[in-house]
Symmetry: C2
DNA sequence: TCTTTTGTTGACTAAACAGTCAACTGATTT
DNA sequence: AAATCAGTTGACTGTTTAGTCAACAAAAGA
């Protein structure tokens, strides 16, 4: 089967990091290759273009991420607890990134999506898909919480859209302001937004 | 006083449109000059760099926008009415853009801010400033609504942060999905989020 | 062993890019 | 009318960029 290598993986990791810490437009193929320790010839052996690589990286990252979200949003966990864990997870994740990179980087999907949506149709479609899937986690948690009588949300999908927009906005602001403190309101904001009774709220 | 021209203005308009319809990183100085009908020599006569021009354009645009927002958020208008008008304004604005450009483009500040915040400190600071000012409009409307007994928001600043994040998230999603329908939930989402009693809600 | 498959390399091209500059133009002042 | 001020121009530089390619290298199968 000829020789094998992890150059493909290294390229995907490199592009993910470069786009996230910088931007899609400012990331060059030469930079990606340097970071991955791969020569440009090899790059074009595996991928057709930067967009092609970014798409592959996006898919790979989402497959990892999905496993984590499946765990956080497991139906065995009480619905409001799922949301609390999700907020905590987001906080912890961004805190680690800041420690490592010196910057709060927010949600890579939103940042990339907003940047390239008018230019790279393939990427745009994939990002739309993934965002839709992420929203579904919220929707089912909200539906379950409603069924449990903890919140009043007859239209779970609509509430999920509101909550999702709120989270996306928070992440974007955290990136722009390079601030973690904004994210700390997430849980309170969630309870607030869903009208969770004080008795059902768990803050720490 | 030598001769005068509007090349500076044309450059600012060109860069605003190019960044908004595309992205900061994918916008080149040659493109800006072409669109403005200005030669590169003139560009460098007025500005030091793309970032310098973008900063100037940002300030100019904000000065226009502020006047509109001052009118929408006039203290003479009932507080919840202000928010409703703001949502309507955002909807109408994006609808016009879509008609003109074929795309929903969302909030230029958020898109640009998220893209360049790790790269262009000058722009980042300015965007942070403007976003903060925008948030203030919401804060005073919320405070007034609380004072009028229409909503329960003892901490107006906190509520404003939540509402602002929600709006930003909505605009970002509208851009990414190239969809206006998402924005149509804004008013309902606002009432929902603020816990406005049905009696105080005005939808159309 | 030698052949095939899979991956690597560096040198290359052509285009796009940012940034510079001296010479020019056309209003305005004196 | 001459001096000055404000803006314009196009041709230029050097660099960065995406993308190509033929030759090479290593693992695996025949």
């Amino acid at each position: 089967m000829g020789r094998c290598s992890d150059a493909k993986q290294r390229l995907m990791e490199a592009v993910s990091e470069l786009i996230w810490t910088g931007s899609y437009g400012s990331t060059t193929i030469d930079q990606i290759c340097d970071k991955a320790g791969v020569k440009k010839g090899s790059f074009y052996y595996f991928f057709d273009s930067k967009a092609d690589l970014a798409l592959a990286a996006l898919e790979a990252n989402w497959n990892c991420k999905r496993a984590e979200l499946d765990s956080i949003f497991s139906p065995t966990v009480p619905p409001l607890e799922r949301l609390r864990r999700y907020c905590e997870y987001g906080n912890k994740y961004q805190r680690e990134i800041q420690k490592k990179c010196g910057c709060v980087l927010g949600c890579p999907l939103l940042t990339l999506g907003a940047e390239i949506c008018t230019q790279e149709v393939g990427l745009q479609k994939k990002i739309q898909e993934i965002l839709e899937q992420k929203r579904k986690y919220l929707e089912s948690a909200i539906r379950d919480a409603h069924a449990a009588g903890q919140i009043d949300a007859p239209d779970a999908a609509a509430k999920a859209r509101v909550l999702f927009a709120y989270y996306q906005g928070l992440q974007a602001e955290a990136r722009i302001k390079n601030s973690l403190t904004i994210l700390q309101d997430a849980i309170r904001g969630t309870y607030d937004l869903l009208g969770v009774k004080a008795a059902d709220q768990v803050l720490a």
